[in-house]
């Protein structure tokens, strides 16, 4: 220990930063709860689920269609993006010609770097008119799922790639020694060993999907109604806040913070589930 003083300074600095990053989360939760308290007290938590519709200016506050919208759009996007992302990572690690690898990786990195409003704009001017020809109005659950899938795909692909990369080399050598085929190695050895990392990628993608605002606002139609099919418009909780916050009076504003609180709850639940799943997978693996 040549410099105990410096070590102590470093230790306390790290502690300070660790505490403050947790404190930020807690402050956000406290702030959102505080802001939504008037609506929760005045309207009551039950009416956010039982009112006939969402018309805050007329005193109706049913959030259920928007909860469903958020969950459906995100789940649909993950259902599309997860297999694609994992397959892309497998291709990259085990099948792609070495010359192609770095280009492929950079392209996916580029996909991750495109701002969400650009995806939304593309969705609105290209994808929505296409869907409209199939089934009007075009702004729909389907459009939201497709745009979001494209947006979260790079997260899943890059993190799965990293997870596959970190599978110990002696696993691969052992598989080769056993005479396993390439696909046999991938499906029987590599994927089970990398499950934890892949799940982390999917969880991060899920968080991004739930929180995405601009792109879904532009392509989903934003009608507060329970969707009956893929071609029906939906409104997500994030789009609801973005659409109405700037124009909301006090009671309405507080009701929007309740949708923020619901959003936090969904993210927390999702994080909890994925952590539990990851632990189980790692324990079994």
């Amino acid at each position: 220990m040549p410099h105990p003083g410096r070590d102590r300074a470093l230790l306390w600095t790290l502690r300070l930063f660790a505490v403050s990053s947790v404190a930020i989360v807690l402050l956000v939760v406290a702030f959102v709860s505080g802001e939504s308290a008037p609506a929760l007290a005045e309207v009551g938590p039950v009416r956010f689920f039982s009112d006939p519709s969402w018309h805050p200016a007329s005193g109706f506050f049913n959030m259920v269609p928007m909860l469903a919208g958020t969950v459906l759009v995100s789940a649909g996007a993950l259902l599309l993006a997860a297999p694609l992302g994992v397959l892309s990572a497998i291709f990259l690690q085990f099948y792609a010609p070495p010359a192609l690898r770095s280009y492929w990786r950079n392209l996916i990195g580029l996909l991750a770097g495109i701002p969400s409003v650009v995806y939304g704009f593309w969705g609105l001017v290209s994808l929505v008119p296409l869907i409209n020809r199939l089934h009007p109005p075009g702004q729909s659950l389907l459009a939201g799922i497709l745009v979001l899938a494209l947006m979260v795909l790079p997260t899943i692909a890059l993190l799965s790639d990293a997870a596959l990369e970190s599978v110990p080399a002696h696993y691969l050598r052992s598989a080769a020694a056993l005479g396993l085929s390439r696909w046999g190695t991938v499906s029987g050895v590599v994927l089970p060993a990398a499950r934890g990392g892949i799940l982390t990628g999917v969880a991060l993608a899920a968080a991004r999907a739930v929180g995405e605002t601009m792109a879904v606002l532009m392509v989903c139609g934003n009608v507060v109604r329970m969707p009956e099919g893929l071609f029906d418009p939906v409104r997500t909780l994030t789009a609801n806040i973005a659409l109405e916050m700037a124009y909301a009076g006090s009671a309405h504003r507080s009701a929007l913070f309740v949708s923020g609180l619901a959003l936090l709850a969904i993210v927390a639940l999702g994080a909890g589930f994925s952590e539990a799943a990851r632990r189980k997978v790692v324990a079994n693996g």
């Binding site: 300074a9 007329s58 001017v125 409209n132 075009g138 934003n222 009608v223 507060v224």
Partner: protein
């Protein structure tokens, strides 16, 4: 080393300090400040006028914040802003609380359809049927055989309030296929959908259509939607863009309002696609 961390900490603290609330024009400092809050429709015009006003009055700073007409009115009432911006008339309650609305320009809200839609116009009654879902096909209102896409504005927008006022509908009556936020999103939605109908600010729609965006303004109750018909008062869906003050304006606020109503800013009003006030100030 420690000093560096201290500096970082100070910076973080500084960033956390919230901005000063709108402090009004009563400050004793040399710099006089005027705070305007409210309608996002008026804000771009107000900030252009403010730039010119500041250039003519050294030492004056005009601070403009958006947040919708409702905020403008409540801020003016609570004294949080010197002047509120409201793109609608005051309702009787607000007027009874001692607020005065002073128009600085006019804006019309027009119905837009895709350029390929041959429909010429709708009556008020047809408009009501379209927006309440009683009519779902263009054929029923004299158009082609195609399913209607009804584009509505999000709750709380002044445009929606004017539309509801004109049609006599409540927001719970409307059955929309798409809900949008601002005018630009509405125009893009209609431009991308040959069977859509929506309503947006006429000036913005005229400007975008002249630049080649495939949209068309249609007539309402037989009156063509244009800045001209808004200007002469014949177009039914029009609104005054108001500056709202508590009581009678005085001092700096009065100067600013008078300047905003003067012919000196008519070019700015036209550049923002609104209609200047007539010579009588109405």
């Amino acid at each position: 080393m420690k000093r560096v961390f201290l500096a970082i900490g100070m910076l973080a603290l500084g960033a956390c300090r919230s901005k000063d609330p709108a402090s009004g024009s009563s400050g004793p400092e040399a710099e006089r400040k005027l705070v305007l809050t409210g309608s996002s429709t008026i804000a771009p015009l107000a900030s252009e006028i403010a730039k010119r006003f500041e250039a003519k009055h050294p030492g004056v700073r005009v601070d403009i914040q958006t947040g919708g007409s409702a905020r403008g009115i409540s801020d003016a009432l609570a004294g949080l802003a010197d002047i509120g911006m409201a793109s609608r008339e005051l309702n009787p309650d607000e007027a009874a609380n001692g607020l005065t609305a002073i128009p600085i320009a006019k804006d019309g809200i027009g119905l837009i359809v895709h350029r390929d839609n041959a429909l010429l116009g709708l009556t008020r009654q047809q408009l009501v049927s379209v927006y309440t879902g009683q009519v779902t096909n263009w054929r029923q209102v004299g158009g082609k055989d195609a399913r209607l896409t009804v584009v509505n504005k999000a709750e709380g927008r002044a445009t929606l309030e004017l539309f509801l006022h004109f049609t006599g509908l409540k927001s719970t009556d409307i059955q929309a296929s798409v809900v949008i936020g601002d005018n630009a999103q509405g125009i893009k939605t209609v431009a991308g959908n040959p069977d859509a109908i929506g309503y947006v600010s006429i000036g913005t729609a005229e400007h975008d259509a002249s630049l080649g965006t495939p949209i068309r303004l249609i007539s309402v109750d037989g009156v063509a939607a244009s800045l001209a018909t808004v200007g002469d008062g014949t177009f039914p869906m029009s609104r005054a863009l108001n500056l709202v003050v508590k009581g009678q304006p005085n001092g700096l606020a009065r100067d600013f309002i008078e300047y905003s109503r003067s012919a000196e800013v008519h070019d700015l009003v036209k550049a923002e696609f609104f209609v200047p006030l007539g010579p009588t100030g109405t």
